[in-house]
């Protein structure tokens, strides 16, 4: 084996992607409930799998697939299995990712937040599960976010915090009687629209061609808007859109001798949902705006070329020889605040450079040196890569 010949006696290891230890029953979400001052609070937590897109007017029933009680330390842990048909269906629909809503209740307050996780489960094995409710021997790896981490989710149960509403007395009474056997929630798809969403930006200086590609599988975390009080919207968590499309979308073709720095948009589908409490249900009283899919298409948003032309003195500068090509295919892109306006509500979005999101530069030979620089690291890891000048 190659590794063994290079380092006698030393055998290694897998990629960061594969290093999660398979753990049966690994929680899909865990963390702490906190109250005023960040102090832990006891309460109830329930989790529902996001079912994806539906036509306008559809009434969708969403079962609670996991619930837990947090003790005085506020700690909670929610476990679902990729074998669960609703989980398997979500994984298949979203290229191995599952998005979910968590509702927490404590001290007469209710908090709603969203998150997306991937398990590395065998999707081919899940096809049968989703269609026939069959079980599989697919391993249940740790549920991780896009960075490969298993992040703790703090849910703040503080009046006025994002996604937090005050429970009615009836809800409080019902919550005391139901939890593990809580009935499903329902929502109605009040509206659905597509909206241009920033998925990245690219910068080029003179004597350079550049391109940016997104897809065929989407790779973006998009904020979820929640109107918990009826008085306004706030961002409360994110969903990960990893839906496959028929084609990659691309940006490029700019004048090789011109300057370009622009934010790049593609179309995502968003739903506005009115949640309602089914009889006996206590967990579902909000309105939400959720990204439910990627439609493709490409356009250029904000002009940000004013940040270019300073790399020769920037902290994270790198020089590229004239005639060089460079492909960037890893690490995370910038988090764009207000990356999209869906139903008039600004949502954030963050994409990742990956096998699905890539940038390419081809530096011309009219200049010996092409300066590039990252906003927070070298060009291989920075969230934004700026360009110019040449020398």
């Amino acid at each position: 084996m190659l590794l063994g010949t290079l380092v006698p006696g030393a055998i290694a290891a897998a990629s960061p992607r594969a290093q999660t230890t398979p753990t049966l029953g690994a929680p899909i979400a865990s963390g702490v409930l906190t109250g005023p001052g960040g102090q832990p609070v006891a309460g109830q937590v329930a989790l529902m799998i996001d079912p994806g897109a539906s036509p306008i007017g559809t009434e969708v029933t969403v079962p609670i697939v996991a619930s837990a009680t947090a003790g005085s330390d506020g700690r909670y842990s929610l476990v679902v299995s990729p074998d669960d048909p609703s989980v398997a269906a979500a994984l298949l629909r979203n290229s191995g990712w599952v998005n979910f809503m968590i509702v927490a209740q404590a001290n007469g307050l209710e908090a709603t937040t969203y998150a997306g996780r991937t398990s590395g489960a065998n999707l081919s094995g899940l096809t049968q599960i989703a269609s026939a409710g069959m079980r599989t021997t697919a391993s249940t790896n740790a549920w991780v976010d896009r960075t490969g981490k298993v992040p703790s989710i703090e849910i703040k149960l503080v009046a006025g915090a994002p996604g937090v509403s005050r429970m009615t007395s009836a809800q409080v009474a019902d919550a005391a009687q139901t939890n593990a056997a809580a009935p499903p929630c329902r929502y109605t798809v009040a509206d659905s629209q597509q909206a241009g969403t920033v998925v990245g930006e690219i910068h080029k200086w003179k004597d350079t061609t550049a391109s940016f590609s997104y897809g065929q599988t989407a790779d973006s975390d998009i904020g979820v808007g929640v109107n918990a009080t009826g008085n306004g919207w706030s961002l409360s968590g994110t969903v990960h859109v990893a839906q496959s499309n028929s084609a990659t979308v691309g940006w490029g073709g700019w004048d090789p001798n011109g300057l370009f720095g622009g934010q790049l948009q593609t179309q995502f589908q968003y739903e506005r949902r009115h949640w309602q409490n089914a009889p006996g249900s206590t967990y579902c009283g909000v309105e939400s705006i959720v990204a439910v899919g990627w439609n493709g298409g490409s356009s250029v948003g904000a002009d940000v070329h004013q940040y270019d032309g300073h790399c020769d003195t920037a902290a994270n500068r790198q020089s590229y020889k004239g005639g060089s090509p460079f492909d960037r295919t890893s690490s995370r892109a910038y988090r764009y605040y207000g990356a999209v306006s869906a139903f008039g509500v600004g949502l954030d979005a963050q994409s990742g450079y990956s096998s699905s999101v890539q940038m390419h530069w081809s530096f011309g030979t009219a200049s010996n040196t092409h300066w590039m620089c990252g906003n927070d690291g070298p060009t291989t890891t920075a969230q934004i890569v700026y360009a110019g000048p040449n020398a």
């Binding site: 590794l3 290079l6 290891a13 960075t147 298993v150 790399c311 590229y320 005639g323 906003n375 070298p378």
Partner: protein, 201 residues
């Protein structure tokens, strides 16, 4: 200015270590998030995928070229020694010249993307050869060390090196991890230097 102010901000981390076996052949402890050598990047977050970036440069046959910049850090609380860095795949028409480890505090003054010569002319780099010790990270602003890869074409055409195998020692155990970066030297100056396969998508 946006570039420099934000540029001072971060140091992130991409993890590369996983399972391992000690040099005497016994398994070393492993866990779900094994500490070790990491690739530094933004947000103190590991990459979802190992680096698959590709960098190329035109150069005549026999002319050395330097490529950067993989930034390695140490997320553990004990020193890690990089014991060797090897190329995983070297085209028959290419030669791997080794990897220099830039440790100097001022190395970014002339940091390498792609440049002629190996090692590159960078007075602040304080280049070292393995074994090189990486101290535990001093925090999010710790820049770790930069790897600069050297290669040359030994025959005409597009010549590639694909993948780097980084071996390191931590706590008496040896570990190996692989990066999927690609490096290209193009010798035909009549053609535009480009990768032979398009950017995957």
């Amino acid at each position: 200015m946006r570039v420099t102010s934000i540029g001072a901000m971060v140091g992130l981390v991409l993890m590369i270590a996983v399972g391992c076996r000690s040099s005497n052949g016994t398994s070393a402890p492993s866990n779900s998030a094994p500490p070790g050598v990491i690739v530094l990047g933004p947000d103190d977050a590991p990459f979802a995928y190992p680096g698959q970036d590709r960098t190329g440069a035109p150069a005549p046959v026999g002319y050395p070229v330097s490529f950067g910049s993989l930034v390695l850090g140490n997320t553990t609380d004990e020193p890690i020694t990089i014991t060797s860095i090897e190329a995983r795949e070297v085209d028959p028409g290419a030669a791997f010249l080794g990897v220099k480890i830039a440790t100097g505090a001022d190395r970014r003054d002339e940091a390498t993307g792609s440049v002629g010569g190996f090692p590159p002319d960078n007075p602040g780099a304080n280049f070292q050869d393995p074994p090189t010790v990486i101290a535990p990270s001093a925090g999010p602003h710790d820049r770790g060390v930069d790897l600069v890869v050297g290669m040359k074409a030994t025959a005409p055409g597009n010549q590639y090196i694909k993948g780097l195998i980084v071996s390191y020692r931590r706590g008496g155990s040896d570990y190996v991890t692989t990066y999927d970066n690609t490096f290209l030297v193009c010798t035909d100056f009549a053609k535009k230097c480009e990768f032979d396969t398009p950017t995957t998508g």
